[in-house]
């Protein structure tokens, strides 16, 4: 026997309220985290902090080499991950037929996406640092980060490519275009915003990664900036880790400041991706 209407309404109201409560419980900490770090970290951030080398055993001065190192790792990651990622996405959406091998590729991608970052660190250590003898270096770290970033780039790029209407391809072929001409002249240009969003989001993750660079690229106390890809480097996430857990007497200001710089990096990239996405939607010609 169905409950009376009044009782059902009441259940619904309570139910919706608890869902809202959960959502709020989820959202408030996020706002708090961002707020606390920015609020407490901002005072430490000034031009010197961002551009000077650290001094006094990292306890004062700036974190410039960590910032530079993070940039270098990001660039290195992008150089490798972007061509492989876009290429794989083009293959899966434009060229591959649905057979066992294609399924295997997709399974491989899903698994690459799920591997814990520390395991990537071990892999990078085993292959790039030791076996290929690159040592603890930017190149070892970037290559490992690149493989870790591949799944994100591939899946967002594939979605972007697939969302380009099939009718464009048919028209291009009917005008005498080859498959690659169609991909190069119509499909890819239209998919660029989606691909770009994926690349930015992938790099956002790579930039914040510590476990991967722990044994492959990162160093704490380097007297100078890296001069070749085979040098190790400082990096923001690793720097934050060390100064918050392993340096006694580290001024709390610097810890918060470093965290804030990292956060601004990450949020900035997030914002960039959002902007790219919404501008693309507005200018779409179909």
């Amino acid at each position: 026997m169905a409950a009376s209407v009044g009782r059902r309404q009441w259940i619904q109201r309570v139910g919706f309220a608890s869902l809202l409560l959960a959502a709020v419980l989820t959202v408030i900490p996020i706002v708090l985290v961002v707020g606390i770090i920015l609020f407490r970290g901002a005072p430490a951030i000034n031009l010197e902090f961002l551009t000077a080398m650290p001094s006094d055993g990292m306890k004062s001065g700036g974190i410039m080499p960590a910032i530079v190192g993070t940039f270098l790792l990001a660039i290195g990651t992008a150089i490798v991950a972007v061509p492989f990622g876009i290429g794989a996405a083009i293959y899966l959406s434009e060229y591959a037929t649905e057979n066992r091998w294609t399924q295997a590729i997709r399974v491989a991608i899903i698994n690459l996406a799920g591997i814990p970052s520390i395991v990537y660190g071990l892999f990078g250590l085993g292959l790039f640092v030791l076996f290929l003898q690159f040592g603890t270096s930017i190149i070892a770290g970037a290559l490992t980060l690149a493989i870790m970033t591949l799944p994100v780039i591939i899946s967002t790029s594939e979605e972007a490519i697939r969302s380009v209407p099939q009718s464009f391809r048919v028209v291009s072929v009917s005008l005498g275009g080859t498959h690659w001409q169609t991909v190069r002249r119509i499909v890819l240009p239209q998919a660029v915003p989606g691909i770009l969003t994926g690349v930015i989001l992938g790099l956002e993750r790579a930039v914040g990664e510590t476990a991967v660079i722990l044994f492959t690229a990162a160093a704490f106390f380097l007297p100078s900036l890296p001069s070749s890809p085979f040098d190790s480097t400082m990096a923001l996430p690793y720097h934050l880790f060390v100064i918050s857990t392993q340096v006694p007497g580290m001024p709390i200001q610097i810890q918060y400041g470093t965290a804030a710089v990292l956060l601004i990096f990450v949020l900035g990239m997030n914002l960039l991706a959002t902007i790219v996405r919404s501008r693309a939607r507005a200018r779409r010609q179909w």
Partner: protein
């Protein structure tokens, strides 16, 4: 009839999903005329068009037999230069599909695919094909605007111009006015009448009235079979086959 432009000989086609197949089609398309393919939906008219420009190669075709002769070559031959074929035989689709570019770029796209880089040539072709499609006056001053901004009828005429830019010999149109209002439809039909002097035209009309208005020759296609093929003046007034008459009279379809 003097030597036909296209000679379809015993063509049979079957898709993997079994839909819209063709059975032993024999048909001759005359030069510089409008040949109409009409009949109920799903009968195979579009399939026949897509076989002629080998667009079917992109889909799941289970079986294809027969020959289609044009200019001394069998179009269905595996070794055929498909790119040359598709430039010679242009196609206009039911829904106007403008490429996501400017009006001018839509028109030069086909030529750029072919490697044409000369700016003067491209400009000249843009103007002449827009003139031929009776669209020049309306867009001459806004060639750089996105083509998506044009109205439906203008977009369709742009698609016709886009095909003309490649200087084809045959133009195939698959229900080109199905989404258009009567005025745009009239303009497109008028353009076709102008074009037939220089091109061979294959048209799938979207109504019998359109077929009757435009056809020099007409073929009635039903369930993959070519039932009747006669001059336009005859088939709509004195059809020879009972099925043709039933369809024209509206007794089915």
């Amino acid at each position: 009839m003097s030597s036909p432009k296209i000679s379809v000989r015993d063509v049979s086609l079957k898709y993997s999903d079994g839909k819209e197949s063709l059975r032993h089609i024999n048909l001759e398309v005359a030069h510089n005329s409008v040949t109409v393919l009409f009949g109920p939906a799903g009968g195979g008219k579009s399939s026949l068009l897509r076989t002629i420009n080998r667009l079917n190669d992109l889909t799941d075709v289970e079986h294809l037999s027969g020959e289609i002769w044009m200019d001394g070559e069998d179009i269905l031959d595996a070794e055929l230069d498909l790119i040359k074929l598709r430039r010679k035989v242009g196609m206009v689709f039911a829904r106007p599909v403008v490429l996501p570019m400017s009006i001018g770029q839509n028109l030069t796209y086909g030529l750029e695919l072919a490697g044409e880089k000369n700016k003067d040539t491209l400009d000249r072709v843009v103007e002449s094909s827009l003139q031929a499609a009776a669209l020049w006056d309306e867009v001459a001053d806004r060639l750089d605007e996105p083509a998506i901004k044009l109205s439906g009828g203008q977009q369709q005429r742009l698609c016709i111009a886009r095909v003309l830019a490649l200087e084809p010999e045959v133009i195939m149109l698959d229900e080109p006015t199905s989404g258009l209002d009567p005025i745009s439809t009239g303009k497109v039909e008028g353009t076709l009448q102008m074009l037939k002097n220089r091109y061979t035209i294959l048209l799938v009309p979207h109504s019998i009235q359109q077929a009757a208005r435009t056809a020099d020759h007409a073929a009635f296609i039903l369930d993959g079979e070519l039932v009747e093929f006669s001059p336009g003046k005859e088939i709509f007034t004195r059809p020879r086959d009972q099925r043709t008459e039933d369809y024209i009279e509206g007794r089915f379809g």
